[in-house]
């Protein structure tokens, strides 16, 4: 999941010197998605939401989420004033937040410094809210000279300043060529036409307080949608007629009728909400199709297959082994062939249990041998197979392994240490035969002990997977 931990949020203001901006920013965010209003529209009951959010809500139950009164998608009107306020606020936000945070830090620092430097602290407190950048710079420079004890806080300030310099407002991205700041989804189209020269817009977006937008010329989108699409009476349409409608719209027409209907509704939501956008940020049909594709992956036809997280408890080791049996068998055959070519006689010692049964022995692998191959189903690339375990004649390695095997058997750890694998890579050539034999055996693991969970994916140690058992406690 790509969620960054510094997702901008109204609570960002709480720990600054401007906590009153928290409710202000909350008021500029849609109550449904909690993002800044994106193409805000006003309902017939005078509530404002993102166009896409309210369209989805109306699609779900036909009511306004705020007051539950009946609502119709075709009564929605763009709320231009809110749109402008939100846009301007977003442009000013990062700078304001930076200043407010810095100010808070400064006032805290000055409280700490007061004990030592009364004079200086008083200077700081004079107007804690209305400090200008120039003033701060001057003061910090002066501080740096005066006292070594005060250095530390300013080091922090500097680094934070750097970070904030790279700060991008939510949903915005920089063109890699001209560094111009724009909505993230516009970057791709922009790059195709970018001349490489930073235009006057870039200076404007860095200094939010310059010209009014109306005076700036903005590039027009290639295909501005003109009129909203209207809904269909799905009950009156056969599946094939509906498919044809979807094809005519240029959206995927696969799946059951129920899915076709849901997809069509979502397309109407996406398309019509784009009609509520201002000309400057209206998206091309290609971008809308990308959004539909994302919906498809998260909530539509592909949702179940693609979004299921494989939990350790749910992982079907046996099923996985069955599904990939042919691959495993190939690998085993390869390994055996190589083993025979190099050396026929089996070495004595712990690692080989059943030397005479090589080709047919798969189901009869000794338990401890099985545990020696830590991740049979995770790492089956044949190239690695020869390099995995060259332990033959290596008494110290053998004893290490034995210890690990014992330990693994005792604790039934799902993650037998990888170190034996690593330590073995030193003397691979000499022990090739032995090691391929072991690798061979290792592939049996899923067949032999399905209850033993092989780490298929890296999973957090504290699980999710005990939910069932803990609910059962009652």
């Amino acid at each position: 999941m790509e969620l960054s931990h510094d997702l901008p949020d109204s609570t960002d203001w709480i720990d600054t010197s401007l906590p009153a901006f928290e409710p202000l920013e909350a008021a500029l965010r849609c109550e449904v998605c909690k993002e800044f209003y994106n193409n805000p529209v006003i309902t017939s009951c005078s509530h404002t939401f993102c166009s896409l959010c309210i369209r989805r809500c109306i699609g779900a139950d036909g009511k306004c989420p705020a007051c539950k009164s009946a609502c119709q998608a075709d009564k929605l009107m763009p709320n231009i004033a809110v749109r402008e306020v939100v846009t301007k606020f977003q442009e000013a936000r990062s700078k304001a937040l930076e200043l407010a945070r810095k100010d808070k830090e400064d006032s805290e620092t000055s409280v700490g410094a007061r004990k030592r430097k009364v004079e200086e602290a008083e200077l700081d407190e004079e107007e804690p809210v209305r400090q200008t950048r120039a003033r701060q710079t001057r003061r910090s420079a002066r501080r740096g000279e005066t006292a070594g004890t005060d250095d530390a806080p300013f080091v922090i300030l500097d680094s934070e300043e750097e970070k904030d310099g790279d700060y991008l407002p939510e949903g915005m991205a920089k063109c890699p060529i001209c560094q111009e700041l724009m909505k993230a989804h516009l970057v791709f189209d922009h790059v195709n036409t970018c001349t490489g020269e930073p235009g006057d817009r870039s200076t404007r977006s860095r200094k939010p307080s310059s010209f009014p937008t109306a005076l700036q010329t903005r590039p027009k989108e290639p295909t501005p949608p003109t009129s909203r699409l209207s809904g269909l009476n799905y009950a009156m349409l056969t599946e094939s007629a509906l498919k044809k409608k979807l094809r005519d719209l240029g959206i995927p027409s696969t799946g059951s009728k129920a899915l076709l209907i849901r997809r069509h509704q979502e397309w109407l939501n996406i398309y019509n909400s784009n009609c509520d956008a201002s000309d400057a940020v209206r998206k091309s049909k290609r971008e809308l199709l990308r959004e539909l594709d994302e919906w498809e992956r998260t909530q539509g036809g592909n949702a179940n297959t693609k979004e299921s997280y494989v939990m350790k408890k749910d992982f079907d080791g046996q099923g996985h082994a069955m599904a990939h049996k042919s691959q495993f068998d190939d690998l085993i055959a390869n390994a055996r062939k190589r083993a025979k070519a190099v050396q026929k006689s089996e070495p004595e010692g712990k690692t080989t249990r059943e030397p005479n049964q090589e080709p047919q022995q798969q189901p009869h692998v000794d338990q401890s041998t099985t545990t020696q191959a830590p991740h049979p189903s995770t790492a089956p690339p044949p190239a690695d197979a020869p390099a995995a375990r060259p332990y033959e004649h290596n008494e110290s390695a053998l004893s290490t392994i034995k210890a690990k095997v014992d330990e693994a058997n005792r604790t039934d750890s799902a993650f037998p240490s990888l170190s034996c694998e690593k330590s073995s890579s030193n003397d691979r050539a000499a022990k090739e035969a032995e090691m391929s034999e072991e690798t061979t055996l290792g592939f049996q693991d899923p067949f032999r002990s399905p209850s033993r969970k092989v780490p298929m994916f890296a999973l957090p140690a504290e699980p999710v997977c005990d939910v069932d058992s803990s609910t059962a406690i009652q």
Partner: protein, 165 residues
Amino acid sequence: MTSSASKRLFKEYKGLSSDPPEGITAGPVTEDDMFLWEALIQGPEGTPFEGGVFPAELKFPKDYPLAPPKMKFLVDVWHPNVYPNGEVCISILHPPGDDPMHYEQASERWSPIQSVEKILISVMSMLAEPNDESPANVDAARMWREKRDEYERIVRGNVKKSLGL
């Protein structure tokens, strides 16, 4: 891949951790799966639930916030509005269309502008003031109405049990 649902859940998580309401802690069990949360609710003061800490699990649908999550206590909660299996029956968790008995106001039920925080606050006040008009646990409801002493004794017992005493 982030759906709008997981994005919103992440925002709620952030809001709850930077500005938590009193007596409530909640967050996803792992940050890999935003759709399963665990919450801890303190028993409200001045009720037999006082002193208890009640873990509950919240399961969110893929189309959240269009549809409400499901909430289930992970310990025994003897309460008229909690099913014996721990599932919480409270109007804010019911989608607007789903009300065959018509005993709930539409305005009390789930709407996309509700949030985890509001759900948990509602559950806290539900613990303090049971609604015995539509009990999920009929026995508990009758006991609450008729034998309040016994009801409170069982609740206190559960509180002790949930604390491992």
